[in-house]
Amino acid sequence: MKFSYSLLKKLLPKLPAKTKVSEALNMHSFELESIEGDTLDIKLPANRYSDASSHIGIARELSTSLGLAFKVPVKKLVNTPMNRGLFGVRVEEKDLCRRYSGRYFELKKIGISPTWLKSILKSCGIQSINAVVDVMNYAMLVTGQPMHAFDADEVKGKIIVRRAKKGEKITTLDGKHIELNSQVLLIADEKKPLAIAGIKGGKEAGVTAKTRKIIVESANFDPTNIFKTSREIKLQTDASLRFAHDLSPALSEIGMDFATIMLAALGAKLKDSVDVYPKKVSDRLVNFDVASYEKLTGEKTDLKEAKKYFEALGFEPAGKKFRVPAWRTDVSEFEDLAEELTRFLGYGRLKSESPRVAIKPIADDLEFSFGNNVKEFLTRMGLDEVYNPSFYGEKEDNDFKDSFFGASASALELENPIAENRKYLRKNLTAWLLKNAEWNSRFFEKIRIFELGKTFALVGGKTSEKLVLGVLAAGKKDKGGVLEIKGSLSELLRSLGITDFFFEPSGKNLLKLIVNGRDMGFIRQFSSVPGAKQWVAAAAEVDADSLSKMISEEHEYKPLPKYPEVIRDISMVSDRAVSIGDIVEEISLVNEKLIDDVDLVDEYWDEKFGPKQSLTFRIVFRSDEKTLGDEEVNAEVEKIISNLKRKFQIEVR
């Protein structure tokens, strides 16, 4: 909110230079966002509009922090003419309009404002209109109370504060046509709307140079309704901003009295006034004691010191309590007073002191510790970790249907997406990982990446989220990725103490990961990566939520082998239609006691092979009972070859 340094200086003649003011505001009151010429842009907290969206409020803060004398420049007027019938007010919505004060003035002419006043308005971002309108705005800047003046000749009958009828229209002072609904509170006369209450005046009863009789309004409106209406009709004004932050109805008369003095200086004669104020707000008595303060902040003070600051803020001692004026809407209990005192004593004064608490073992968060383990493991395996956005579009959701939310799940949609291609929360990690591949294909020959992140869906009409591990291996003609992922995931599972798992092919390009009999993930092969020429990829997703609950820390010792292993390689030509997985399984089944491991060590195919491929398997034989002899091993190899010949028609090379 914009404030004028010169207006503050008028209120506090001893105000130091702007740098000093800036320091005092930042360290004791509010953040000063910028200083430009005479304008101070202050970030006002949402709970301080009632007392501090005014130059009086800021001056009071500065007088307290800088120790300057400050006198509020508003005199309470007495013996003002009341209820003489020159105008009338009827408030139909007493909940929405908590106070309606009006004063009726007559004046001989309406000129323009003096230069000093115009320049203060300008510093605060307000345009000068004419002497009366400028006084209204100036009174708001000084006291924080939004004010409005109507041309009394244009007000037909009583002023009525009511809800708008659906479809009712108003033209605002600046010529905008706005259609209203029944949520909008109106200031109307008996014929037409005069103003959108607390937001903007209407053109019809606006004060012009020709106006000679005015009704000045200093009212108070329900903050929630102003907040909602202002959003709905997309009109935010200096007045609506203040009202939405819950001004105290006590401000009405402060603003009105200030404006009255200003108008009198313009030659305006006060002829009548009305104040509809059914539920009066009063000052509050708030507890404060030094012992509680010390307990809350750890800082020592004494009552004398506290009083000094409280009195500067306008809080008067009342027995063991302090009387807090009604306009300080944010101060209602001990903690609030404690904050006031701490602000002005300075946070720098607080002692930094180790807490005195009994230590207890820290609890382990499964998601966090599991996540860290997985991340550490995969980076050790050479994979790089990426973080992708949680949002994507329709295409990314349609392209990758695999998820862990079940078949009935649908993508979770945002009410207010940042863009059309970010309108869903991601249900899979693969879409973004493939985009990572595309981007990085410009700089790398191949990549190995993973992400551990939340995915979302609507499941049975309920918002659900799941932690998923996504892994991607991609590169130029990089066909080995899928097997690397298979290997990495297997090692990962083993490191987590999970032994009951296997990969089950489902079609040519999809492997399902089954852990403890449950579907826990998949690896999918992609023959191309969009946007990355000649790149192929494999991507895996694993249900990390469920997996984290299966881990066991039991790693059981197995005796080291007593007898040496014997290694044999078998090279063969087989039909490409025969899957390697089946051959490996067939070999292993020949003698489960003696065959320790089967691995594919070479794979070759080119055009001239036609439908055939060349494969080399390495078989490790080992017995737990003795050293194996050549003959025994040869016999097993013979058996393997004959089985493979019979079952898959292979030829040994």
Partner: protein, 326 residues
């Protein structure tokens, strides 16, 4: 072979030797027990005195020369053993995986807090309006809510409440308090979301670390201690100064903003304060019995400061040229 021939053939052999072992062989050939020069020296005693003197001194001069040559040349090869590879060539590029800088910062931060007896807790990213706002003393249709630009979800029929993407990690204050009895101290790292335009310092998704400590007499001075210790450890090796300023968050009272000075520059780093009595009431704690502090620090911001990253969007770019630097 005469002495001159022995000398020239030995010199040539030494000069053309390429390994330490070759030199050793040369030493054996000429100076060893059965070496050629040794043989000559040994045969001296059979010669007449005059000849013995002349030849003896020449042979000894050659012996010293060869010994020196061998020693010099051996030194050239450095340590014992054959030269396996040229050790002066550039180190081989070994590939390793890289932890995301935000993972690293979260792990480091959690470790520092664990060292001060804080437990780590995590929570959902899709939150209810109640936990994200109401229970934190941020009522609906209150302008205070505008401090948090919110992504709202199209909630389903099964959702009992209006759902949103958490705008901060603070909802975990309430979720944790509902299930726990003080005293306790926790930190909550996690992803948060703000509905706002992205630029160098704003992202729609970002990370926060929430802290909450509640006890009988946990005070604001204790907050200062914990947070100073944390920041000193986190920015270890750097000169750091602290500044605490007033601030406003509806769920704390008093509210504090923490700035640090690094390399001569003041930086806003976190918002904090004493837990508001209303928040304790929402958690069904009696505010007369308990007090404590809460804080929230931007993980991305910590990482940007620590590693000198100029643009927050790099963290979510998936650009491996960036990620492989950590």
């Amino acid at each position: 072979m005469n002495l001159g021939e022995i000398g020239s053939s030995a010199r040539e052999a030494i000069n053309s030797a390429t390994t330490r072992e070759a030199l050793e062989q040369i030493r054996l050939n000429y100076l060893g027990r059965k070496g050629e020069l040794t043989e000559i020296l040994r045969s001296l005693k059979e010669l007449p005195v005059e000849e013995r003197r002349v030849l003896g001194s020449e042979a000894n001069v050659l012996r010293v020369e060869l010994e020196n040559m061998l020693a010099d040349k051996t030194a050239n090869f450095g340590e014992a053993g054959e030269m396996v590879a040229d050790i002066t060539a550039p180190g081989k590029k070994v590939s390793r995986g890289h932890l995301h800088p935000l993972s690293r910062v979260m792990a480091d931060a959690s470790k520092i807090f664990a060292g001060m007896n804080f437990s780590v807790v995590t929570g959902p990213e899709a939150e209810t309006e109640y936990y994200n706002f109401d229970a934190l003393n941020i009522p609906a249709n209150h302008p205070a809510r505008e401090m948090w630009d919110t992504f709202w979800l199209k909630s389903g029929k099964g959702d009992k409440q209006k759902m949103l993407l958490r705008t901060h990690t603070s909802p975990m204050q309430m979720r944790f308090m509902e299930k726990s009895t003080p005293p306790f101290q926790i930190v909550v790292p996690g992803r948060c979301f703000r509905y706002e335009a992205t630029d160098m310092s704003h992202e729609v998704n970002f990370y926060q670390l929430e802290g909450l400590m509640v006890g009988k007499d946990v005070n604001l001075g204790n907050f200062k201690f914990i947070i100073e210790e944390f920041l000193k450890k986190f920015f270890v090796g750097q000169k750091i100064e602290f500044r605490f300023r007033p601030s406003y968050f509806p769920f704390v009272e008093p509210g504090v903003e923490v700035d640090i000075k690094l390399k001569g520059k003041w930086l806003e780093i976190m918002g904090a304060g004493m837990v508001h009595p209303r928040v304790f009431e929402y958690a069904h704690y009696n505010p007369k019995d308990w007090q404590g502090f809460a804080f929230g620090v931007g993980i991305d911001r910590l990482a940007m400061i620590k590693y000198g990253v100029p643009d927050i969007r790099l963290f979510y770019s998936g650009d491996l040229r960036f990620l492989k630097q950590f």
